[in-house]
Amino acid sequence: MSETTSNGNEYGFLIDASRCIDCRACLVACSVENEVPMETTRIWIQETGVQGEFPNLARFSAPYHCMHCDDPSCVSACTVGALQKGDDGIVTYDQDRCIGCRYCMYACPFQVPNYEWKEQLPLIVKCDMCVSRLSDGHSIPACAATCPTDAIIFGKKSDMLAEAHRRIDQNPGKFMNHVYGETENGGTATFYISPVPFAELGFPAADEASPAYFNRLVTHGTPTVAGAVAVGLSSVYLTIKHHAEATAQGVGAAHGQNQAGPNEAEGAVVGTAVPQNPDLPQAAQGQEA
């Protein structure tokens, strides 16, 4: 169902909720790296709240940022194509293009894109896998580089997915048997494993098919619909015109000319030639009242 097919070169994340200690170093790192204030950072923490009964209390958390979907809804939605999915799997944002319509914010099933609400001329705030760092060939995104417990790891997408399954398989009972991001929204490049159900972490239950796919089903039909409507209207026009000319000479040909005047017959009679009434000034009718 996805338009993008894997080329094996995509990057990806593996985020392990059992390792996250909610230190928020990743938030600071991202804020510094990308020069965005902390309140509109591209990454934030989802957490369960305190669970269980004293003394067996537990609280789980996980960093949360753009999933870099395989078939991203935001890319499909963006009016001006400011959001793009690259061959490396990164969903990038062109801040010189964005017109600030905020359609992407509604389109994203994970409610990822954030907005600089405080600015006079605001932009979208969204993780781009630190694409400018990656260009040197050996650096990794700031959040992954900073995380003290390796709760965020970064690498080839296929490796990340394999590692996610390996951890689940080799630690029976430790994780839920679900790699979040593997099928969500048609598959993503960010994989999560967690000891608790993802709903408890506040992750949305995204469908397996990306809404972008259904969107394309309709928008790709547009030229066909346009052509069909135009051709249909033209043929209706010509058919009725021809018919009218054949039956009552002169009537119907002078379209755009005055043929109105109140029609005696009630109801709509499609295709019937209208008797040409003497012009009755509308203004005069209004004055009767």
């Binding site: 001006v80 194509g81 907005y115 605001p122 309709v218 619909v225 015109k241």
Partner: protein, 390 residues
């Protein structure tokens, strides 16, 4: 010349002045919004990045659907007896679209780049398609209206040439309208995770298109009746009745499709089990069932008072539908809800006042309620038309 204009302005009734003051106040707030940014002036948030402005845009575009519905009936289906309704309706359409464009401009965080949709296309985006269609269609509406504006002016010679191209332009206009009326529904297809299942449907574009036909016709009828009272000019009763005749048919198709789609996708049970959403949806249905019944009665179609009631129900039903799809039926994130700030509302009221003012002035000064060919006008009407002469 200047003195004449001043005298003319002085002769206008108090209603125009009140509208002008409201418009000026609202538009000043709009100026402040452009300066200060969205965060300080609106209640929009990450959970609700769209608000009352988008709901207004959707409703207004639906209301303006009369222009293309009527153009199709008159020019394409040759129902020439309806021709007298075309001009006022095209004007309503044009002013409607102008208001939508103004509000859309307010809604763009980067309004300084509004033209980017012209140079950076994303063919997958419903919003891209809507923007283009609205822009092109507005130019066609100006074209369709130009004979009214040019008549009695020194360029009246151009009218002949303009009218020669009416049919191709009308067909282009109807095609563009079909596209953007439906694309406004497509907008919400990608929002399936947020929009409640009662509204989300693959048929959204069809629903939006059909309901815009009903809303457009209702607007023509309501407009004719109101201008009968305000401007003492209106449509012939039979024309109005004939327009109303279409409404029950359109509404029946719409309601059958809407409820039928719920049945097919196995969502019919949501109709009574979704609390607040059920209430909203059922209200929407009820608001449209009433005019369906009303306009099926011949006496109603021929009565001004009853027709206005029926039209008001259609308009209310369609407005509620648009507000539901873009606001009320958007599921909150983490309990966060949205309600507009006073500035969002003030800007809307200002734009509405501007729209009503523009319509009234044009109806006052231009031969809006007449036919394309000069008709014998009673001499009483002459003074108000003299303005464009010199």
């Amino acid at each position: 010349m200047l003195k004449k204009i001043i005298d003319e302005v002085k002769s206008l009734s108090i209603g125009y002045y009140i509208l002008a003051v409201i418009a000026a106040a609202g538009l000043s707030v709009a100026g402040y919004r452009l300066y200060a940014g969205l965060g300080t002036t609106t209640n929009l948030s990450k959970a609700f990045p769209w608000g009352v402005w988008i709901s207004f845009d959707l409703s207004t575009v639906a209301f303006s659907g009369g222009a293309f519905t009527l153009a199709a009936l008159v020019y394409v289906f040759h129902l020439h007896e309806l021709h007298s309704a075309v001009r006022p309706t095209v004007l309503v359409g044009l002013i409607g679209y102008a208001s939508v464009l103004l509000i859309l401009f307010m809604d763009l965080g980067r309004w300084d780049r509004f033209y980017h949709f012209l140079i950076y296309p994303n063919l997958n985006s419903a919003l891209f398609e809507v923007s283009w269609c609205i822009m092109l269609y507005s130019t066609i509406l100006i074209y369709e209206l130009s004979p009214v504006l040019l008549k009695n002016s020194r360029w009246s010679g151009a009218i002949k040439i303009i009218e020669k191209w009416t049919i191709p332009m009308v067909i282009a206009g109807v095609t563009l309208s079909t596209l953007h009326q439906s694309s406004l529904g497509t907008l919400f297809i990608v929002m399936s995770p947020r929009l409640h299942a009662l509204w989300h449907s693959m048929l959204l574009p069809v629903f939006f298109l059909i309901s815009s036909l009903a809303a457009g016709l209702a607007m023509v009828i309501a407009g004719a009746i109101l201008s009968y009272w305000i401007f003492k000019r209106t449509l012939a009763e039979n024309v109005q009745a004939e327009l109303a005749w279409f409404i029950p048919w359109i509404l029946s198709i719409y309601l059958v499709l809407k409820v039928g789609e719920l049945e097919i996708t196995d969502e019919l049970h949501l109709l009574f089990s979704s609390g607040k959403y059920s209430t909203l949806y059922l209200t929407e249905l009820a608001l449209l069932v009433v005019p369906l019944i009303l306009f099926a009665i011949k006496r109603v179609r021929h009565s001004r008072g009853w027709s206005l009631t029926g039209a008001a129900f259609v308009l209310a039903g369609v407005v509620l539908n648009r507000f539901n799809a873009s606001w009320f039926a958007i599921k909150p994130v983490a309990g966060e809800m949205y309600s507009p700030s006073w500035m969002e509302v003030a800007i809307l009221i200002g734009v509405l006042a501007t729209a009503v003012l523009a319509y009234s002035l044009i109806a006052h000064y231009f031969p809006l309620f007449e036919e394309t060919v000069p008709v014998e006008r009673p001499p009483k009407r002459q003074p108000s038309l003299a303005q464009t002469g010199d």
